[in-house]
């Protein structure tokens, strides 16, 4: 095995072009497990942990450019104001030790349908900045996931960053697991309201071969909010709307039965999470409205 440790980004791109089968390694929270258990024996490891660009966060009024290797801990601590949905999702990743090493770039590289960041990235409308010696591609995140643990990267490309618009409206995230810490999602759901464009976006994790949006549900809810003048009034939206939205989200799933849960359970859980995250988000859009914190229904913080 070969261990490459480029000191800078250009050098990393050159190394990836020269060794297209090199496995990128940053926090190691996925790759090292595979190495420790003998599940994977890559010919080359490309260690990206020394590259400062990948640990940088650039904030402009129109975008947050999140370096691919920025650990979840920093997203939780520093970016909850601009990326609230992603910060909530990051908060549910593994344990402190895992959040200190794991990153959104790693989640995207692994492209597991259970990755915690994916639903929040889908809901926020993130784009993935993929770079190679040939140039840079900006890939909408919903086009990035191409299959179970497969993504749209070409073999000479590396993930440089993720670009996300700073939140202009409420965002929520919810995850079902067996306990609070150290748990892989049985399924997860994220919702973002975008008052500027008068749209709603969603993200579903672990309930289809890839992380997915629920386009029909988004369109339905967006239309109701628009036609009812709710964006302007901030009035309560009839409960029937929430139920229909949740049903459409459940219908967007294509889950399987596995050790963590059955397909039927996942569909049901996505429906419940869609309804709750919508209620939390809309409560957040109407300042002064009372928050309904029923047991089991509390929003992630």
């Amino acid at each position: 095995m070969e261990f490459l440790r480029p000191a800078g980004w250009e050098e990393a791109l050159a190394a990836k072009a020269e060794h297209p089968d090199a496995v990128p390694l940053a926090g190691g929270t996925d790759i090292m497990v595979e190495l420790n258990f003998g599940r994977r024996r890559p010919r080359t490891l490309l260690d990206l942990s020394a590259i400062s660009e990948l640990h940088a966060v650039e904030r402009t009024p129109s975008a947050v450019r999140l370096g691919a290797a920025v650990p979840y801990t920093r997203i939780v601590e520093d970016l909850a104001d601009v990326l609230p949905g992603l910060a909530m999702a990051s908060r549910t990743v593994g344990s402190p030790q895992i959040r200190n090493r794991g990153s959104v770039g790693g989640n995207l590289g692994s492209a597991s349908p259970a990755g915690d960041a994916h639903p929040a990235l889908l809901a926020a409308g993130a784009t993935v900045e993929a770079e190679s010696v040939r140039g840079t591609r900006h890939i909408p995140v919903e086009e990035f996931y191409t299959g179970v643990k497969r993504n749209a990267l070409a073999e000479d490309e590396l993930i440089r960053a993720v670009r996300v618009r700073p939140a202009a409206g409420p965002q929520q995230f919810s995850k079902v697991g067996t306990r609070n810490a150290m748990t892989i999602a049985v399924c997860a759901f994220a919702l973002a309201l975008h008052p500027g464009s008068r749209t709603v976006r969603s993200g579903i994790g672990s309930a289809a071969p890839t992380p997915v949006r629920a386009p029909e549900a988004e369109e339905f809810l967006g239309r109701v909010l628009d036609e009812g003048g709710y964006w302007e009034s901030g009035e309560p939206v009839p409960p029937l709307v929430a139920e229909e939205f949740a049903s459409l989200c459940a219908a967007a799933c294509d889950p399987i039965d596995d050790v963590r849960g059955s397909a039927a359970y996942r569909r049901h859980a996505v429906r419940v999470m869609a309804q709750r995250t919508w209620e939390w988000a809309w409560a957040g859009y109407r300042p002064g409205a009372a928050r309904n914190d029923d047991e089991g229904g509390a929003a992630c913080v």
Partner: protein, 166 residues
């Protein structure tokens, strides 16, 4: 390959390291530091917790080559490290967190203890008076199958109180 880094303040070199080898393996099998425990090898249990350039990490999930040039703190160096941090020149003493684990009876079989000590010490460095929720959160990545955690929580509270009285 050769890997060179600082462990507990001492420069160490390990030779013939396999490229896919973990930092944990190098510490235990090549550098004679078996304090960090090897259990799950997948970041679930926290018994291999060390600090890598100050940050608590699972040593089993760090490739040895990634530690090149960095500073690693293991449980073996915790007492010295705590002493230097507090500026108290009393040699051969345990760190306050280690003392508190002893006094509170937070150690049963002892296997999870090194990881918990490193994690708890880092918590108290960052947050000298943590709430119970903050203690639970900071130690959420460290599994213990003996104690039921209550004595461990007692120990961290004790260590925090002890430091507060000084």
């Amino acid at each position: 390959m050769r890997v060179t880094f600082t462990v507990n303040g001492r420069r160490c070199e390990a030779d013939d390291v396999w490229e896919g080898e973990s930092l944990l393996y190098v510490l235990r099998e090549r550098l004679g530091l078996p304090g960090s425990k090897n259990a799950c090898e997948q970041g679930e249990c926290g018994s291999c917790t060390v600090r890598l350039d100050g940050t608590p990490v699972c040593a089993c999930l760090v490739a040895a080559g990634q530690a090149e040039g960095s500073e690693v703190l293991t449980v073996e160096g915790l007492a010295d490290f705590a002493r230097q941090r507090s500026g108290e020149p009393e040699p051969d003493q345990l760190s306050p967190v280690q003392e508190a684990f002893n006094r509170a009876g937070a150690v049963q079989c002892g296997f999870c203890t090194p990881g918990l000590l490193v994690a708890a010490d880092e918590l108290l460095e960052r947050n000298p008076l943590p709430s119970d929720a903050e203690i639970r959160e900071a130690l959420a990545g460290n599994l213990c199958r003996c104690t039921g955690y209550e004595k461990i929580l007692d120990a961290v509270r004790l260590a925090a109180r002890g430091a507060g009285e000084e």
